[in-house]
Symmetry: C2
Subunit: 331 residues, 2 copies
C-alpha cells in the first residue's frame, strides 16, 4: 500500500496538472484529444489504477455493495446463494463495484448494522426475505439503497424476484393436465415467504382446474428427516397420485423415505420439485422440477441496486425466469 504512483506523480511526469489527469481518466470535462491520449497511454503503460479509497472519499462513495448472507443457510440454500453471488459479481465488477459480504443471523443483524454505520457500502442486496425481516426493517430506516431478492409483502421494497407464483402454478398445472388429480404438497420453513408463495401457486393451479385444495394433502414445516417420514406417512394415507416438494432438500428426504418404504417412483407415486438441482437431475429416477436461473436473479438485483445508487428509483421486477423440466419421476 506504499509507494504507488498517485495522480500527482503522473501529472508531474507528464507536465500537466492533476485535474487534467483526473479528467483524462474519468472522461469528464473537455480536454484535447492529444493530452487525453497521452495520459491514457501513460497510465496504461505504467498500469496506474486510481485509489478506490481516495476516490471514495472525494465522491462520498465506497464502490462497495453489501450482500447479506444468512449464517443459517444450509447446504441447498448455499448453492442458490453462490449462483446469486455469481450473477451479482458479474454485474457489478465491470462498474468498479466490489461485494462486501455480511453474515447475519436471524436475530442478529449486527454485522449489517456495522456495515451501514461504518459506511462501508453504498447499497445492500438482501438475498432472502423473511416475514418480520429485521434486516429489511433496519435498512429501510437507515435510508441506504437496498433491494431484496425474493417475495415480500412490503410494497415499499424494491424487489427482484422470479414469478414463483406462475412458475409453481405452471408446474402444478402440467401435472394436472397429465391426469393426476390428487396432487400433494410438502414444504419447509413457513417463516420464509417463498414457502407461502409456492403454496399459493400450487393452489392457484388446482382452482383453475376446478379442484379445491385439500388441506390433508398439504404439509408444511418439514425440515428434518424425521418430519419428512411422518409427513409422508400422513400424506400417503390420503392416497395421493403425485407429490410436489417445495425444494431440493425435501425432495431428497422424500426420495429416501420412499426407498425405505419400497414406494417406487414413478410407478407408485409421481414426484416433482419446485426447485431444481443437479442432484435431482442425476438421481434415479430423475426428478421433474422447476428450473430457475439464480445467476440472472443476482444480476438483476445488482443492476437495480446500482440504479438506486445512481440516484434513480427503479421499479420492482418480476422475472419470468424459469422453465419446467419434465423428467422420469412424473412419467
Amino acid at each position: 500500500m506504499k509507494n504507488r504512483k498517485t495522480i500527482d506523480d503522473i501529472a508531474a511526469e507528464l507536465g500537466l496538472s492533476k485535474s487534467t489527469v483526473s479528467r483524462a481518466i474519468s472522461g469528464k470535462g473537455r480536454l484535447s484529444l492529444s493530452t487525453r491520449e497521452r495520459v491514457l497511454s501513460y497510465i496504461n503503460k505504467h498500469n496506474y489504477k486510481p485509489s478506490a479509497v481516495a476516490q471514495g472519499l472525494a465522491m462520498q462513495k465506497t464502490y462497495n455493495i453489501g450482500v447479506v448472507c444468512p449464517v443459517d443457510y444450509e447446504i441447498f440454500d448455499l448453492q442458490y446463494f453462490h449462483r446469486c453471488l455469481q450473477g451479482i459479481s458479474e454485474q457489478t465488477t465491470d462498474l468498479g463495484y466490489d461485494i462486501i459480504l455480511s453474515m447475519i443471523g436471524r436475530n442478529d443483524i449486527s454485522g449489517l448494522v456495522r456495515l451501514i454505520e461504518n459506511h462501508k457500502a453504498d447499497g445492500v442486496i438482501l438475498t432472502r426475505t423473511l416475514f418480520d425481516d429485521a434486516a429489511a426493517d433496519y435498512l429501510k430506516k437507515s435510508g441506504r439503497p437496498f433491494v431484496v431478492i425474493g417475495p415480500s409483502p412490503d410494497p415499499d421494497l424494491i424487489r427482484i424476484d422470479n414469478d414463483h407464483l406462475s412458475a409453481c402454478s405452471e408446474l402444478t398445472g402440467i401435472l394436472l393436465a397429465k391426469g393426476y388429480t390428487r396432487i400433494a404438497l410438502m414444504g419447509g420453513d413457513d417463516t420464509h415467504i417463498i414457502t407461502d408463495t409456492r403454496r399459493k401457486g400450487y393452489e392457484l393451479a388446482l382452482r383453475k382446474a376446478g379442484i379445491e385444495p385439500d388441506p390433508s394433502l398439504i404439509r408444511m414445516g418439514v425440515e428434518e428427516t424425521g418430519q419428512a417420514g411422518a409427513a409422508l406417512a400422513e400424506i400417503l394415507s390420503q392416497d395421493p397420485d403425485c407429490l410436489i416438494c417445495m425444494d431440493e432438500k425435501i425432495t431428497g428426504m422424500v426420495m429416501g423415505e420412499c426407498r425405505n418404504r419400497h414406494i417406487r417412483i414413478p410407478q407408485d407415486l409421481r414426484l416433482a420439485s419446485f426447485y431444481n438441482s443437479a442432484f435431482l437431475a442425476n438421481s434415479s429416477p430423475a426428478i421433474t422440477a422447476l428450473d430457475i436461473d439464480d445467476r440472472k436473479l443476482g444480476a438483476a438485483a445488482a443492476e437495480k441496486l446500482l440504479e438506486m445508487i445512481e440516484g434513480n428509483r427503479p421499479e420492482s421486477v418480476l422475472l419470468k425466469n424459469y422453465q419446467v423440466i419434465l423428467r422420469e419421476s412424473t412419467m
Copy 2:
C-alpha cells in the same frame, strides 16, 4: 451518505479541536480523562461512527480483507467455504475489517487482480489451493499480504491447515484397533494435494500396526457415480472388511452403490469417511467420520492474515482441529 456528523461537527459542538476528538476516539495520545469521557459519551449518545473511507485514506488502509471464492466450487465445497467464511467473519468483524468477496475461475483471476490493483483490500485469504495456483502466484508477486487455507508445496506461503495426516492416521488406527485388518481406501482427484495427504495418513496407520498397505485395496480418481460403482466392485473382490472414503461425496456414492448391490452396512461392510457432514451424520446408518471444524480454519486464517497486515510475519500453522466420530457404520 450525506449529512452525517463528522469529527469536525463533534469538535465544534464540544468546543474542542478535531485532533482532540480523534485522540479520544482512537485512544492514541494522551488527554485528560474528563475530556475523553466527554467525547466518548457524546459520540455514544449521538451514535457517531467514523467514516471508514476517510480513515482508510489517512491510514493508507481499506479495512477490508479479500476472500477468494472459486466460481467452480460445487455443492460440498460450498459448505466448507461457508463455514470458513463464518470463521473469518467472526474473527475480523471485531477488529473493524470487512470481507470483500472475489469470485475467480481456475483460469480467470481477473477479479482478484482488480481487487489488488484498485487497492480495495489490505490482504487476501485463498480458501483453496491448487497446483500451479495462478491466484497464489499473482498475490506473491503483488507483495500484498495473503494466506492460504489448505496444503501447498510452496514453503514461502503462509498456510493454515489441518493436520490431515494425523487425523486420517488416527481414524484408520481406530478402525484397526477394532479388529478390521483389510481396510480399503477410496479417493477422488489425485491432483489435489489433500488426496495424497489422506492416503499417506491411511498408510501410516497401517504400517504402525505392522501391515503393509495393499495397493489392490486402494482406489483413487473416483469422481463420478459410474466410477464409484466400478471401484467398489474391484475393491469388494479383494474381500475387505472395511472401507474408508476420502470425502462426503464419494461416501455418498458408495452408499448408493451398496444399496443397489444389497450390501448391508455395517453387517457386510464397515464404512467410514475422512470428511464429515450433516448428511453422513443423519443417514441411516450414520457414518463414522473425521470431523473438522472449518470455522476454526477460517478464524485461524483471518487471525494470521491480520497479523501480516499489522506488519508481522507469522508462521504457517497446522491445527489439530479434528475429532473422530464413531457411528453405526463401523459398529
